[in-house]
């Protein structure tokens, strides 16, 4: 019986499908199941620490609040039972569709981000990325452009002038920074000679080939664009609560509201994942190659066990880097005031865009002159 099961599972197609499902499940669990509620908690607790407050600690079961962790659960329960309000005169269909359109791209874009390397387990190769696309980068940009529709539709369909203003701001801002963001990583693509995130990560195995080392200016520009793209403070004009009440989601309540909220967190996670893959070496540990890791564990756990161990460590390292970036973004969010809408556009078109063009030129020169040895 056991043997039959193992035989069934080792068929290449079954193994492939099984592993793919596992990977999808893992990513969904990681983003929606772990990061979305955890980021809500981090946002509350980190701001509390920065502001010399206690922070959320009320929601609890039998008196145990687990440092406020249960608050996210309480939120979810509360919001599920809340009235789903659609204002009079709103486009009912689009109003309902908008949060879905906002949340799906953030999830789907994670498909091409490698959260580990390639491992050989029981004779099968396991590549820790859901879809190893040759044009992974283009795919991410194509998908994240779609997220704009969610916001614009929400703003337009609500039949509320504040929402409309928020939606308009969002569309202009997100499209502008999409352009700038695409240009910031052209230099990186020239350097690694690939559009596939898997290849780019693989080429960063050596610490001295990390994107952040050769492309630090691009890293800063990319991160700026990423925050702007996610509509977080200081770029949160589409929802600017003191100007536009709540911007594009003014007329949303209950689960639809929380979907926008989750979409924002998921976009943060996805864009941080991109950043880790492009600039921070993905799952690689500085100065430690996969061969070294395998060598360390092979004696102890056998070849398959060592592979599994290396895989776990790789995923752990990836998540750690992700968390560092997320905490950094949170810190920015609780430090900065908000730009004005026209200042954001000016920053995007007159600062970030020219600078990224300059950086493309510099990288080109570097590669041609041999100062930047391509890995």
């Amino acid at each position: 019986m056991m043997e039959a099961a193992i035989n069934f599972l080792s068929q290449p197609l079954v193994f492939e499908i099984g592993v793919s499902l596992l990977k999808v499940g893992f990513i969904l669990g990681l983003t929606i199941g772990f990061f979305a509620p955890m980021l809500a908690w981090v946002e509350r607790k980190q701001s509390a620490v920065m502001q010399d407050r206690v922070g959320a600690n009320r929601a609890g079961v039998f008196g145990f609040s687990v440092i406020g962790l249960l608050h996210s659960l309480a939120d979810a329960i509360k919001l599920i039972f809340k009235e789903d309000f659609i204002p009079r005169g709103a486009e009912r269909g689009l109003h309902t569709l908008a949060p879905v359109v906002a949340i799906i791209p953030a999830l789907v874009a994670f498909a091409v981000i490698p959260f580990g390397g390639k491992y050989t387990l029981w004779g099968h190769e396991v590549n820790l990325v859901i879809a190893d696309l040759d044009v992974g980068l283009l795919y991410v940009f194509a998908i994240s452009s779609l997220a704009t529709y969610g916001v614009v539709l929400a703003g337009w369909s609500s039949n509320n002038n504040w929402s409309l203003l928020g939606g308009l701001r969002a569309s202009a801002q997100m499209f502008s920074y999409e352009v700038a963001m695409g240009l910031t990583i052209i230099g990186l693509v020239m350097f690694y000679q690939s559009l596939s995130l898997v290849v780019i990560v693989a080429k960063q195995e050596n610490f001295w080939h990390w994107g952040i080392i050769w492309h630090f200016p691009a890293f800063i520009l990319f991160l700026t664009c990423a925050v702007a793209e996610n509509k977080r403070v200081p770029f949160d004009t589409p929802e600017a609560e003191s100007e536009l009440v709540a911007g594009y989601f003014t007329e949303y309540s209950g689960m639809k509201f929380i979907m926008f909220w989750t979409a924002e967190f998921l976009e943060m996670v996805t864009i941080s994942g991109m950043c880790v893959a492009l600039f921070m070496g993905g799952h690689h540990i500085p100065f430690v190659s996969q061969a070294m890791l395998l060598g360390l564990f092979t004696d102890l756990l056998g070849p398959n066990g060592a592979m599994l161990m290396a895989m776990l460590i790789g995923v752990g390292v990836f998540i750690t880097k992700l968390v560092i970036l997320l905490v950094f973004q949170m810190t920015v969010r609780w430090t900065m005031p908000r730009f004005r809408y026209d200042q954001i556009m000016k920053l995007g078109w007159k600062m970030v865009l020219p600078l990224s063009l300059v950086w493309i030129f510099v990288v080109g020169l570097g590669i041609l002159s041999g100062v930047m040895p391509r890995p």
Binding site: S47, M50, Q51, D52, R53, N161, W162, L165, R169, V233, P234, D236, T237, A240, E241, S242, E243, V245, W334, T335, M336, P337, R338, F339, R340, Y341, D342, Q343
Partner: protein
Amino acid sequence: MREEDREKGYDFHKKSHTDTMVINMGPSHPATHGTVKFFLTLDGEIIEDIDVEIGYLHRAFEKECEAQKWNGVFPYTDRLDYTASALNNVGYAMAAERLIGIEVPERCQYLRTIVSEMARLSGHYTNVGAGALELGALTAFIYFIEARELLWDLMESICGARLTHNYVRIGGVTSDLPSGFRENIKRIFAKNRELWVDFDTMLTKNRIFLDRMRDTGAISQKDAIEWGFTGPCLRATGVPYDVRRAQPYLVYDRVDFDIPVGSTGDNFDRYLVRMEEINQSMRIIEQCLEQMPDGPINVDDPRWRMPSKDDSSTKMEPLIFHFKQIIEGPQIPAGEVYQAVEGCNGELGYYLVSSGGGKPWKCRVRPPSFALTAAMPLLVKGAMLADLIPTFDMINLIGGECDR
């Protein structure tokens, strides 16, 4: 630009088949928090026209005063500028005393100066902090709210209240400083100075903050004077007018303090003026505590200041005066008077008329933020919607004071 186009016969809206958007900002809007409504005509994000509608916090203060005994007005004055309530107390008490023609003892004057400046601190903390909040810098806001809470601890130890500090009476104050006040104030001021530095570091040189504040909501010196500006908003244009200097009252002529002035009259100058005034107020309080003599805190005249509770429950004459004060109120001689103090937002004036009874015949307040709010259209027309937020905050409309 659009105006010029129209003069040339080119109507942008007609040509492009667009129209302006009319939108109600407030009264329930995060930036107007229930106290005011802006009726905006927006061209995209640009404010073409703005109509300010005040009155959402109108509580018939002036009419209500006519139904109260002279001392019964004090709780109402607390609720004028509720971010700096003790200042309103002081202004009203001084006006009433001028009408009677009495002078309060020296120690009382020092006490009043101290609570006035503490009220100013509380008002400026609230205003500047809320300005940061409305630009999205929540952390900076909480720093100043902490400073304000610490300050309110002090106020609470003096008068028992945290928000509506009802401390001053005609002819004196309710109580002397509590024991340990000097040590507390030293500790709290040290902490507040740290918080001030934190706040300053986060915002004053922050490029985003500078971009939002500089050159927005600017007003020229001439316009400011014509529109009746007073207080920090006037000083931000460079006019060093401060009631504390121009018509010294209490003990302001005996303490050393600077009057910060700006040069451009924009929001950033208003912010800087307020930030510096926070420091100056602390200086004044510290000097007052040093100079303050011992002595009585009330005038020794039971016609104006109620005798102490101890006396009125053991002696006959104080009991009679106590009774007369409660039933009839102080019989202030007929006459009229205008007394101004430097409020948190500018010149806070009380115009009292007495017909010789126990109640004011008329109690008119000159609220500084009324004149400031009137100039809102001038300040924001042609600016962007987002500019309305810092401008409105630095104007510091306090509903209670403006609408009364």
